[in-house]
């Protein structure tokens, strides 16, 4: 009964639409807890899917699922406190959409059929659109419109790519189920030309959703306009779901012996995203958009690492996990800053260290982590990617990579220091409730812990996922 993991949030999501205000909050946390328990049970390996033609438990799926589950549980606790303080008009739509969003993202991690994967990823767009529109301002309307249109059109191209892969099956005379696992096994018999075409369309399509430049235009707007808990979900896990679609197709390419083709494209898109993020981060005026561009940067890093293969692919997987943990904590922290200062502009903030000391700790640790400094996990991931790039002879790529990371660090540090310390003399403290700080602490500590101690089963699963995606040691 693997499917129950996404059916439960689906049902509670629908129920939440009809509930009065406060009971929706309780349902959110309860579903989050139940989802976390169910995801942990999936790790034991005994539940079997009821529809094995469409769903399967894969190593990369398990990794994404546990990250989604943990994040959602912590974010749901934060959300209950956040909702008390912010003025969101139709709260039942917000909580209901959050739960449906969780359900669709879980479905992405578990789907094995190419088309079901597409259905699930498109469903994440639809479930999250109301979240972005929550504030009902002109700007949020624009962000929602851009998000739905750009992502729907982008993902339509991924559908075309999926169809082209079935065409590669027909021409190659392969008669297997249209699932990622079956296709990876039979990859050598697929028609290489149509498989390549399919990969390109899938990369552009899901890459739009993942936020790879130049298809990233919706991302900063959507992340900036959505309420902070929703931004944390969008950035922390939605982008991973889209990456999963690309990663699984890349796995087919690796099995078909075409990894140099797909790897090169991934590297190019990855570097473009990092460069685009570097240009926009330097002159950013809003801190939530700053974080959004940092997400584009990290997705670029992950795509670059996956494209390199070898050690880089392992580093990319580490970056994927740690980016989710750290970035979602940062977005939650940005919610505290927004509630405290009442403005999204960086220039209106300052002296966080005095005004909100506990939020400051979460913000600064998050900044250190996301910039790729030790002792957080992104440091190890980026290090491995750079080593992998040199080992595989991608010197130019590595040079661009390192240079743009330096630029991004400089830009981010400039803004982060302004937010943290400018106007240091103020002594007015702002109110911070405990449940709006400790979820971030837990997320950051998890990232820290995973650097020093990875449970055996966890590291085995990472290795399994990476090996199938062209990673070697």
């Amino acid at each position: 009964m693997v499917e129950i993991v996404f059916l439960i949030p689906f049902l509670t999501g629908i129920v939440a639409f009809f509930l009065p205000r406060t009971s929706g909050r309780v349902l959110l946390v309860l579903t989050g807890a139940a989802h976390l328990v169910l995801s942990l049970i999936l790790w034991t390996g005994w539940p079997e899917p009821v529809f094995p033609a469409y769903f399967a438990v894969t190593p990369e799926g398990l990794l994404s699922l546990i990250v989604i589950s943990l994040l959602f549980f912590l974010i749901s606790i934060y959300t209950t406190a956040y909702l008390k303080k912010s003025d969101i008009r139709s709260e039942n739509i917000f909580t209901g959409s959050m739960l449906l969003f969780l359900s669709t993202m879980t479905m992405v991690t578990l789907s094995d059929h190419i088309m079901v994967m597409w259905i699930a990823i498109e469903a994440t767009t639809l479930a999250s659109a109301p979240l972005i529109f929550t504030h009902r301002s002109a700007a949020s309307l624009e962000a929602t419109w851009k998000y739905v249109l750009v992502c729907s059109v982008g993902i339509a191209l991924a559908l075309l790519g999926s169809v082209l892969i079935t065409l590669a099956m027909d021409i190659g005379g392969v008669d297997v189920p249209v699932s990622f696992s079956a296709l990876t096994t039979a990859a050598r018999q697929l028609d290489p030309l149509w498989l390549k075409a399919g990969f390109v369309f899938i990369l552009v399509g899901y890459g739009t959703k993942m936020g790879l430049a130049p298809m990233h235009t919706w991302l900063p707007d959507a992340h900036g306009e959505a309420p902070s808990p929703a931004s944390a979900l969008l950035s922390g896990v939605l982008l991973n779901c889209a990456y999963l679609g690309i990663f699984k197709t890349h796995k087919i390419m690796v099995a078909a012996g075409l990894e140099s083709f797909s790897g090169t494209i991934l590297m190019v898109f990855g570097l473009m995203s990092i460069l685009a993020a570097a240009t926009f981060i330097l002159k950013q005026t809003e801190y939530k958009r700053l974080l959004a561009y940092s997400s584009i940067e990290n997705m670029g890093i992950i795509a670059f690492g996956t494209g390199i293969g070898g050690l880089g692919a392992y580093g990319a997987m580490l970056c994927l996990i740690h980016h989710s943990l750290i970035k979602s904590s940062l977005f939650l922290t940005s919610g505290n800053i927004l509630l405290g200062f009442g403005s999204r502009l960086i220039e209106d903030t300052g002296s966080l260290v005095r005004r909100m000391p506990r939020t400051f700790v979460a913000f600064f640790c998050g900044f250190v982590g996301i910039s790729g400094l030790p002792p957080f996990g992104i440091f190890i991931g980026e290090m491995l990617i750079i080593m992998g790039a040199f080992r595989n002879g991608h010197y130019v790529g590595a040079a661009i990579f390192i240079l743009s990371l330096c630029v991004i660090f400089a830009g981010f540090a400039n803004h982060a220091l302004k937010i943290s310390f400018e106007g240091y003399r103020t002594t007015v403290q702002m109110e911070e409730s405990a449940s709006m700080v400790w979820p971030q602490y837990v997320l950051l500590l998890t990232s820290l812990l995973l650097c020093f101690w990875i449970p055996d089963i966890f590291s085995r699963t990472i290795t399994q996922a990476v090996t199938a995606g062209g990673g070697v040691f």
Binding site: M115, T125, A139, L141, L159, L160, T166, L167, D170, V178
Partner: protein
């Protein structure tokens, strides 16, 4: 049977021409609805799967693509009484010329592919490509938000044509899931359209400019 399919496909090509040439939104919506009906009836004429189940699915597809989706957009614009003329950014004459170029290019490209599965239907591949490219063209060539949504639907029609006719390996249930996603997407777009209209008193997307960088 073979000729029948080609006749149906030429109707699709005609609908693309009409969509490029029409300057009134209700007409454009009707054209897209007509296109939906024709495109979803192509599998019936090809005789791939004429079981009762297959026919039922085709009819359901037909009613969603041909009736429900256009109707929901029509109702959305009727409710808010949107200015009904649309003008492509580059004008109608250029659009017509683009249509011609599109058909020629599509026919030229599909001649290169030489796919055994569709050699009986020479118009199939050009039509699919023309639908995809035409949808994109409509999407990018308009500032009117409704025309953009219609462009998206046209693209989806093209992908549907590619999917159902080229390969028989996808299952009906999956196809139906895809269709439901598209339907829900269009419904959400219709809701956003209404909100844009209420907020800005028009659906011109050049009004949406606060978030530009």
């Amino acid at each position: 049977m073979i000729h029948l399919v080609d006749i149906v496909l030429s109707l699709v090509l005609l609908s693309i021409l009409l969509s490029f040439g029409s300057s009134r939104l209700p007409v454009l919506i009707r054209v897209i609805g007509f296109q939906g009906v024709v495109v979803s009836s192509v599998p019936l004429f090809m005789g791939h799967d004429l079981s009762a189940f297959g026919i039922a699915f085709s009819l359901a597809t037909l009613s969603i693509r041909g009736i429900i989706i256009p109707l929901s957009i029509y109702l959305a614009i009727k409710k808010v009484a949107i200015r009904q003329e649309v003008e492509p950014i580059y004008g109608h004459h250029a659009s017509m010329l683009a249509w011609l170029g599109l058909i020629v290019a599509a026919a030229f490209i599909s001649g290169k592919f030489n796919l055994p599965a569709i050699n009986n239907h020479p118009l199939l591949m050009p039509t699919a490509i023309a639908l995809l490219a035409g949808g994109m063209f409509l999407l990018m060539g308009h500032r009117n938000a409704i025309a953009m949504v219609l462009g998206y639907i046209m693209m989806e029609n093209g992908i549907y044509l590619v999917g159902t006719t080229f390969s028989t390996s996808t299952r009906h249930i999956v196809e139906f899931g895809i269709l439901l996603d598209v339907l829900a997407g269009v419904m959400i777009m219709a809701v956003i359209l209404q909100n844009i209209k209420q907020q800005f008193d028009d659906v011109d997307t050049s009004l949406l400019r606060t978030l530009k960088e």
